[in-house]
Amino acid sequence: MLVIAKRDFYAHFSNFSNNLWLFMFFITGAVFWAVSLGRLVLVANYFQFLIVGLMVLGVYNTSFNYMNVVSTELRRGYMKYFLALPLSRGGLTIGRVLAGAAEGIVYVAILFAFAVAMIGFPSLVGALIIFATVIIISFCLSSLGLAIATHFKPAVIDPMSDALGVVLIFFSTLYYPINLMPQPMRFVTMGNLLSAGANLMRAGFGLQQVSMTDFGVLLIWGLLFGLLSIRGYYGQLKELG
C-alpha cells in the first residue's frame, strides 16, 4: 500500500519545476482574482472568504484530477504491470486512494502558507480543524475521482467529471456565501462536500462558526466515495486477473 502511494507521489512530483511553475501561476491568478473581487464585493471579509475558497479549489484541482492518472493507466493497460508486483490487491487499491489524497495535501500546505500570509495564523484548535478538513476533503475528492475512473467507460469519464465539477464548484460556497444564493440552490449547496470543506476551513481561520453538520457531510461523502472507489478499483484488478 505504501509502496504504491510513494510511487504515485514521487511520479507526480518528479517534474518539480513544471509543477511549481503551474502552481505559482495558480497562486498568481488567485491573488489577482481575490484582491480585485475582495475590493469589489460588498460582503464582510470577502477577501479572506475567497482566499479560503480558492484553497479548497486547489485541493479539488489536485485530488479530483488524480482520476486522469488512473483512467490513463487503465486505458494503456499499465494496471497489468501493477498486478505483476508482489503486492496485495487491497494494498494497491488503498495505496491509490492515499496517493491522490497526499498530492492534494502537499499543494494545500503551500496554499495554507499563502492563506496564513493573507489572513493570519489560526488558533491551535483552528489549525487542527483545518488539518482534519484537508485530510478528509482530499480523501473524499481523490476517492470520487477514482470511483469515476473505475466505474465508467473512458468515453464517459471526461464529460462526467466535467459536469460533476461544474455542479460541485458553482453550487458551493467557494466563491460566494450561502446567504447570497437563491433558495433552491442553498439546498444543494448545504450537502456539497466543497461547501462543507470551505466552511470548516473558514471556521478554522476564525471567519465563521464550526458546524458539525459540515463535518457530517464530509464524513458521509468520504465513506460513500471511499467504498465506491475501493469497490471500483478492486473490480478492475479482479477483471484483469
Partner: protein, 255 residues
C-alpha cells in the same frame, strides 16, 4: 481571398469543431460562470463600480472576450502540433503558397473565435440593451482583436521547442493577460500595482471597447482610443506572428 487560404481556413474551422464536446462544454462553463457566479455576486456589487451596469451585465460582456481569447489564442497550440506531427510539411507539399498558409491560419483562428463566442452574444443580448448594429460593430472589433491573438498564440507557441515549456508559456500568458485585465472585474476594484499592468494590457482595451460598443445608449461616446489600441495590437502582434511563422516554414523550426 486567395483560394489556398480559404482551404486552410476551412480546415482550421472544421478541425476546431470536430472537438464539439470540448468547445461546447467550454461555452457551457462560461455561460454558467455568468448566470450563476456573476448573477449571485450581482447582489453584492455596487452598480457605480461597474460603470452603471449590473455585475451580471459587466461579466457577460467580459466573458465574450475571455471566450474569444481562448479560441483564437489556441491556434498557436495547433500550429505547434502541426509542426511536431509533420502535418505542416504535408501542408507545404500542397499547391498552396506559403503566404496562404500563414494568412489562412490567422483568419481561421479569428473566425473560430467569433463562432465560439456567438452563443455568448445571445446571452449578452438578453442581458444588456443592445441593437443588431451594436452587435455587428462589436463582432468587428473582436475579429480584429482575434487576429492579434492568433499572432500572439503563434509567436509564443513557436518560440519554444519543448512541449511542456510551450504549455507553461501558454498558461502563463493566458492567465496574466486575462486576470490582469478588466474582463472579469473593473479597474477601480484593483490595487494600484495591478492597475499599472492592466493599463498596459491589450485585453483591457478590447474589453472596454466591447462594453462601450455593445451596450446601446443614446449618449454613447465612440471608444476611439480603445479601438485604436486594439487595432495597433492586432497589426503589430499579427505581423510578428506571421514573421515567426514564415521564418519557421522557410528556415526550419525556430529554437
Amino acid at each position: 481571398m486567395m483560394n489556398g487560404a480559404k482551404v486552410v481556413v476551412a480546415r482550421d474551422i472544421r478541425t476546431f469543431f470536430t472537438n464539439f464536446y470540448g468547445v461546447g462544454f467550454r461555452n457551457i462553463v462560461v455561460v454558467l460562470d455568468t448566470v450563476i457566479f456573476a448573477f449571485i455576486l450581482s447582489a453584492a456589487v455596487p452598480s457605480e463600480a461597474v460603470g452603471g451596469l449590473t455585475y451580471l451585465q459587466f461579466f457577460a460582456l467580459g466573458s465574450i472576450v475571455v471566450s474569444i481569447f481562448w479560441a483564437s489564442y489556441n491556434i498557436g497550440r495547433d500550429v505547434y502540433w502541426d509542426r511536431e506531427s509533420g502535418f505542416l510539411n504535408y501542408l507545404m507539399s500542397l499547391p498552396i503558397s506559403r503566404m496562404d498558409v500563414i494568412v489562412g491560419r490567422s483568419l481561421g483562428g479569428s473566425i473560430r473565435g467569433i463562432l465560439t463566442a456567438l452563443p455568448l452574444y445571445v446571452l449578452a443580448a438578453i442581458l444588456v440593451p443592445t441593437t443588431i448594429v451594436n452587435v455587428l460593430e462589436s463582432i468587428g472589433v473582436l475579429f480584429i482583436f482575434a487576429l492579434g491573438l492568433c499572432g500572439l498564440g503563434i509567436t509564443s507557441a513557436l518560440s519554444v521547442r519543448d512541449e511542456t515549456r510551450a504549455r507553461l508559456l501558454n498558461t502563463f500568458i493566458s492567465l496574466a493577460l486575462i486576470r490582469s485585465s478588466t474582463a472579469l472585474y473593473p479597474i477601480v476594484a484593483m490595487p494600484v500595482w495591478l492597475q499599472v499592468g492592466t493599463r498596459l494590457n491589450p485585453v483591457t482595451y478590447a474589453t472596454n471597447s466591447i462594453r462601450s460598443v455593445t451596450v446601446f445608449s443614446s449618449q454613447a461616446i465612440f471608444p476611439g482610443f480603445d479601438i485604436s489600441i486594439v487595432v495597433a495590437f492586432a497589426a503589430v502582434v499579427g505581423l510578428v506572428g506571421s514573421w515567426v511563422f514564415s521564418r519557421m516554414i522557410e528556415g526550419g523550426p525556430a529554437d
